[in-house]
Symmetry: C2
Subunit: 487 residues, 2 copies
């Protein structure tokens, strides 16, 4: 209880204080009060049956219910993510069943797993059925097989088809971002007719900024942006004001390419067509925004060696599993570097200063190599690197390495000289720094270019690889030079 | 020439092959042909005055002109970024002057600098004048002072005011994302009147998905989404169908908070109001998408120690300047770690195996610490970490560290035992791994929480800091334990 009260006052100090934070605080307060009552029961100061009758308790639950009803699904998702497991599941139970599906779509993967584990298959089927086909497809990987079968059976024929096609696309393809909420019109009608047609709708799908003009075979003839429709005389024909050659996507296109198109041309929605130019669906900017966020997050996490986003309240064991593979890889590279040092133990025994200086050479090489590789991978992702540029880039990076080697190498050479009173040691230090930086630059340019040529993602694991090379390489160069010239 | 031809065939192999890549290839081909002719002049096989008359040459230039006229500003920006400096500036000269401003807005910061350097102040003023106030504000940091003064003087009074206000906001504030393209209506008119009013426009601003309903004092009363307008009977009053309590932003709000709101509520545009609820402008989803991309890029680059995105064709010297500060910081931390080792030189001299094993302890600690800090910083950015969670998180991370320490520490202990045939050395290795992982976990949790409490960005420099601690700490723990128990 005191913990909670203190937390409440602590929270006041938080800098972030937007609306959802406010909501989160209110929910936590209600949960805290609930917990106090539960605590009394637990400590047997109040028998449970009394609690059941307890008006205060009921009132808290009612208040929470009320609060939750007011909140948008995305906000509830946010609150669920910020709560420890016990409170998260307690709150999840209170959410009205008809919003389960929407909320499951909004929470992070790790938190979704905890919520789905707490639902029986009946509840899951009910939740999924309320969603659109493309949304069900998003949930599908987390749902048990028998649930998916039930959901599938419950769908109307055309949505089954949509679900099947939505699930068939690769996670990184446009098909995975696509939804099926398209409104189509014919080109040989007037705007007046279109406007009357629209008024028959109860609601337009979110992000409808344009209608799609198709012929009888569902082939896309153009798009009719609202912006253009609204400034035009209603007697005008659709064919005359539609945008005749709109940007189209195909479901097998890369999602990243679609994201770049949205960014470059400032789109809100774009039609998706098959190879015969038949309209299948559309991609909207909100799906693109989510995709961009997720991509940057995944990249960010994977660079630090996390397999996926972690629920911060995950168990120790889940966290260990999420992180072990990276540690294992690094252990192997560290072991190799250690064996390189092992090969020079004789030299170190004779000149122990080498042991103290060698991590500097390896470390700076790693940093410099990471700078190079990050710059190149980014430029490649943006499509700025042509194969012909390889030579130019390599020359430039080696130039940078030599300048850095000269500056930092000389500096450290002087330090080594000063510390150990040996000009030769200083010179070896300078030479080793310079050489290791050149190795780092070469590998930093070559590895991503080579990986792309082999059809692999140039980003994945690049940081481990460069560090492995500059560590082992740095030790080898420094200790090797020292053995040759000093002993 | 052969270089270029080979490059052309190389480019065919590129996996990326979207439309802009195609355009880029065509432009490069035209440039290549131009270069061949120029090359002839250079090698004096053709006097320059003949060249000027040369029809072939003129034809190439005309083709390039034509090509450029067809392309959208964003595509031209893309092509400029992918070309080496000489060709970039040659092409930049050919771009019609009236599109200069738009293209400058689209290119990356580093490339923009190279383009602006090639323009005289007259051209710059002309380019800036064709832009909206909020766009000029985006360019302002890169423009020379006297150019900005001329631009300012040339603007109408109301736009001067807008420019002044747009420039007054922090880069990370909503004000910096805002534009002034709002269409306002009154609440006491019918939709019919609104529709007639809209038809008087030549064009609606991009991303207009709703009108803003204001009173005589410009106070925001609500928004009128097109989606709702189009399905409603034209005789209905605006007041009856407008969304009365829309999400509003203030110019001083954090841009990140606005981005999260757009993501969470799937917005296309949102009104920006001042503290008296008077409408000032709006934020659109394209500004948000650009912001999200830039943020993730900056974060990504800064983690690798790059101050900003680099033009891949930048000079060696520019690159050195962009990267030196990170290397300097790392040099200092590496030097400290080296001095820690220096303090134990006596121990290493007696047992040289320590030198070979110590980098493993330091390295794994650094990796593990980076995992922890990345996870926590991410959760903090999402607002999931309450101060009260600190204890829970610390306990969990120490748990993870102990499990990892036990697994990897024992493994390496056995390896050390096997390699150097000493049980004691193995035990010291295991204990050191365990302790350094616990240090890494503690620092990984404490540093970001502490930085946030001090009002600093928890992400910046976190990786350097944790590596510094686990390196020096790892060496100290391992060599210290070895000195105590083995010698």
């Amino acid at each position: 209880m005191t913990l909670f009260l203190q937390a409440m006052s602590d929270i006041e100090e938080l800098r972030q204080s937007d609306d959802v934070q406010q909501e989160l605080r209110e929910v936590q307060e209600l949960l805290a009060r609930h917990r106090v009552v539960e605590g009394l029961v637990h400590r047997q100061e109040m028998p449970r049956h009394e609690l059941v009758e307890n008006l205060v308790h009921k009132q808290h639950i009612a208040e929470l219910h009320h609060k939750l009803d007011e909140l948008r699904p995305a906000d509830i998702a946010y609150i669920l993510e910020a709560l420890p497991l016990v409170e998260r599941l307690f709150l999840w139970d209170l959410v009205k069943a008809d919003r389960d599906g929407e909320i499951l779509l909004e929470v992070s993967d790790a938190v979704r797993e905890t919520l789905i584990e707490a639902m029986d298959s009946h509840e899951l089927v009910a939740a999924a059925e309320k969603l659109d086909a493309d949304e069900i497809a998003d949930l599908a990987p987390d749902l048990p097989n028998e649930v998916m079968q039930d959901v599938f059976r419950a769908l109307p024929i055309d949505e089954r088809e949509q679900l099947r096609s939505a699930m068939s696309y690769d996670e990184d393809a446009v098909g995975a971002l696509m939804d099926f909420d398209v409104i189509t019109v014919r080109e040989d009608v007037t705007l007046e007719v279109v406007l009357r047609y629209l008024r028959r709708f109860e609601d337009l799908p979110d992000h409808t900024d344009q209608l799609f003009v198709v012929d009888r075979e569902e082939c896309l003839k153009g798009t009719l942006p609202f912006n253009r429709m609204l400034i035009t005389d209603p007697d005008e024909m659709v064919a005359n004001i539609m945008q005749a050659e709109p940007l189209t996507l195909e479901p097998s296109d890369k999602a990243e390419a679609a994201a770049q198109a949205f960014e470059r041309y400032d789109l809100v929605s774009a039609p998706v067509v098959d190879s015969q130019n038949r309209l299948i669906g559309r991609v909207t900017v909100n799906a693109v925004v989510d995709y961009i966020r997720e991509e940057s997050e995944t990249e960010h996490l994977s660079r630090a060696g996390l397999r996926e986003g972690e629920d911060i309240f995950a168990s120790v064991w889940d966290s260990v599993k999420n992180r072990w593979s990276w540690l294992a890889v690094n252990l192997v590279t560290a072991f190799i570097a250690s064996r390189v040092i092992g090969a020079f133990e004789g030299s170190i025994e004779k000149l122990v200063a080498l042991a103290a200086l060698m991590p500097i050479v390896a470390g700076i090489g790693g940093n410099s190599g990471n700078q190079t590789i990050t710059m190149i991978v980014r430029a490649m992702a943006l499509g700025h690197v042509q194969p012909e540029s390889a030579r130019v880039l390599l020359r430039k990076e080696i130039g940078v390495a030599m300048v850095n080697g000269l500056i930092w190498g000389s500096l450290l050479g002087c330090v080594a000289w000063w510390l150990y009173d040996s000009v030769q040691l200083g010179l070896v230090m300078t030479a080793a720094m310079m050489l290791n930086l050149i190795v780092a630059a070469t590998v930093g340019v070559a590895v991503p270019l080579l990986r792309q040529r082999l059809g692999q993602d140039p980003a994945i694991g690049s940081s481990v690889m460069i560090t492995a090379v500059t560590d082992s390489g740095g030790f080898f160069i420094f200790l090797g030079l020292a053995t040759l010239f000093l002993l």
